[in-house]
Subunit: 298 residues, 2 copies
Amino acid sequence: MSGLEARELRYFVAVAEELNFSRAAERLGMAQPPLSRAIRQLERRLGADLFTRDTRQVVLTDFGATFLEEARHALEVLTAVDRRARRAAQVTPTLVATAKPGIASGMLRRVAETFRALPGACRVEIAVSGYREQADMVRDGRADVALLSLPYERRGLDSEPLASEPRVAALPADHPLTRRSELRRADLYGEPIPRWAGASEAEHAYWCGREPGNDLPPGPVVGDPSQLLEVVGLGQAVALVPRSVAERNPRSDVTYRPVADAAPYVIAIAWPAGRRSPAIARFVFAATDLYLDRTLVS
Amino acid sequence: MSGLEARELRYFVAVAEELNFSRAAERLGMAQPPLSRAIRQLERRLGADLFTRDTRQVVLTDFGATFLEEARHALEVLTAVDRRARRAAQVTPTLVATAKPGIASGMLRRVAETFRALPGACRVEIAVSGYREQADMVRDGRADVALLSLPYERRGLDSEPLASEPRVAALPADHPLTRRSELRRADLYGEPIPRWAGASEAEHAYWCGREPGNDLPPGPVVGDPSQLLEVVGLGQAVALVPRSVAERNPRSDVTYRPVADAAPYVIAIAWPAGRRSPAIARFVFAATDLYLDRTLVS
DNA sequence: GGCCGCTCATACCTGTGGAGTATAAGTCTG
DNA sequence: CAGACTTATACTCCACAGGTATGAGCGGCC
C-alpha cells in the first residue's frame, strides 16, 4: 500500500539496463542477493513479473519494458528535483542558464545582464552545453532555463518563442540552383539533406523544409554546423541554415540563397514545465522583455 | 549522495500542508519525533532549512515553498507511474479512458469500439470524470487517455486534436444583440462573460473570445453548462458555447447567434507526455483514424 | 559424459537507521 | 504563573536493507 520508493526504481533500472543481476548489483555498490530480493518484492507489489529469468539469461517482460520507461521518467523527474533543490539551497542561490553555442550565447549574456538588473535577482551561472543538449539539461535539473532553437523536443518543458530569423539554403557552389536568386522549399525536394545526429523525425522534417510524415531524402549525418557546411561544400548535400550561420561562414565552396517559404529559425526560452519559481519567472520576463517579437539581427 | 527518497517527499509535503508536525505525523500514521528527525535530515541533505519553526508555529521558508512545488510534482509523477503500472500488471490489462460528460462520451464510446476491433487491443474501461478533471486524471495515473476540450492545461500531456465545431453566442432573449443574425467576437467586448470555476487566464480568454493578456470583463463564476445557461437566461451575462450545447439546450430565455470569427471548440485526445505504450498508441490511432480532420457533427 | 563456469535463488546472519516512548524545553493564553 | 500547546532531545527497539555462504539450474567444453 505504501507506494513506490525511489530506491526500488533505481534498482530496477540498473537490472533492466544490465540484464544481469550480478553486474547490476556491482554497479549499485551492493551484493547480488539483496538486489534479487528487492526486485522480487517490487514485482510482488506491482502484481506482475518484470523479468523472465532462468539461470542463464534475464529478459524484460512486456510489462517490464513499459515499466522501464515509466521508471526512467520518474527517476529523471526525481533527480531534476534534487538538483534544482540543492542549487536553490545554496547560500548564494544560483540560477543556471544554458544555450546552444553560437548566436544564442550572445543573447543569453544580454538576457542575464537584464535579469541581474531586476530587483530580487539572484546569481546567474551560464553553463556550456553540447549541441542539442539544452533541453536535456533543463529536464534533468542541470539547468533552470535554456535558450534553444525550434523544433526542440518539448516534453517536460514550458517555453516561449523569443526571436526568429529567416533560413537560407546552403548549396554547393556549382549546384544548378545557385543560378536562381531565390528558391522555394519545393526546389530542394529530392536533394540529399544532412541529418542532424539524434534528430527526431519531426526535427529532421523541419531541417528539410518539409512536413513531418512525408518521405524524407536520405543524407549524411552531421553533428555541428561546420560539419554540415563541409558536407555541402563537398557537393554531397544541400541544407537549410539560419541566415546568421550563413553570414558567419562565408565559404568559396558554398553558396547561400534565400528560401521564400521556409519556416523561420526560432529561438525560444524554455524552463521545466510548470516550475515557475520566482527566479525562473524573472529570467523569462527579462528574456521576453528584451527579445519578444523582435526579429533576430545577426 | 544517495538521492532523494519518495518517503522523504511524502513526509515533507504532509508537514508543509499541515504546518504542524504533530498533525502531519498523525496523518502519516506515525509518531511526531521521527517525523521531526526525518525533516531535519532532509534539510541537512538539501543544504537549507525548509521551515522556520519555533515551538508555536511552523512556516515554510522561501526555499521550502519552491521545494513544495517540486516535491508535489515529483510525487504526482511517482503515483501516476505506480497507478499505471499496477493497472498494466493486472491479469487482464485494462486501458482506462475518460472524457468530459456530454458529447465526448459518445465519441469515446465509438473510439473504444474501434480500438477493441484492433489486433492486440486490451480491455477498455471508461471512467466518468467531473468537469475539467480529465487532464488531472491522466496526469495522476487514474486514466491512460482522455478526450478533452481545448484550451486545457497541457502540462505533462501529449495531445492530438480530433474534432472541432463552431461556437455560438448565448444571449439573454431580450438582449439588443439578438436583433442581429450573426455576430463577431468584438460585439461581445464589454459584456459580462461567465468565468468557468478554476479556469486559467488563457482558458478564460478563450471562453471570452479574446486573446490572453487583454483585460477580461468580469462575470459570474459557473461550474457547468446548465449553470452557465441559467446565468445567461437571467440576463447576467453572455457566453460563447459550442453549437452542440446550444442545440441540446433550447431555452425560451436564451437566444443563440453564430459568431463568425470565434475560435472553434476543439476536442483532443491526450495521454501522459512521452508515455506511448502500445495500448495507448493503438487507442490514439483508433481515435485519429475515426475523427481526425472531421468536423464534429452534433 | 562429467566437470567447470556462469547465472539467479535460498537460507541465514548482521547492523543501520527508522520508528516508538518518555520527557524536556520553549511560547502564547487566560 | 499555570496550563495547553507546540517541537526537540534522549533513549530503546526491531524491522528490514544488506552481507555471506551456498544451493541449484543450465551451457559449454575438454
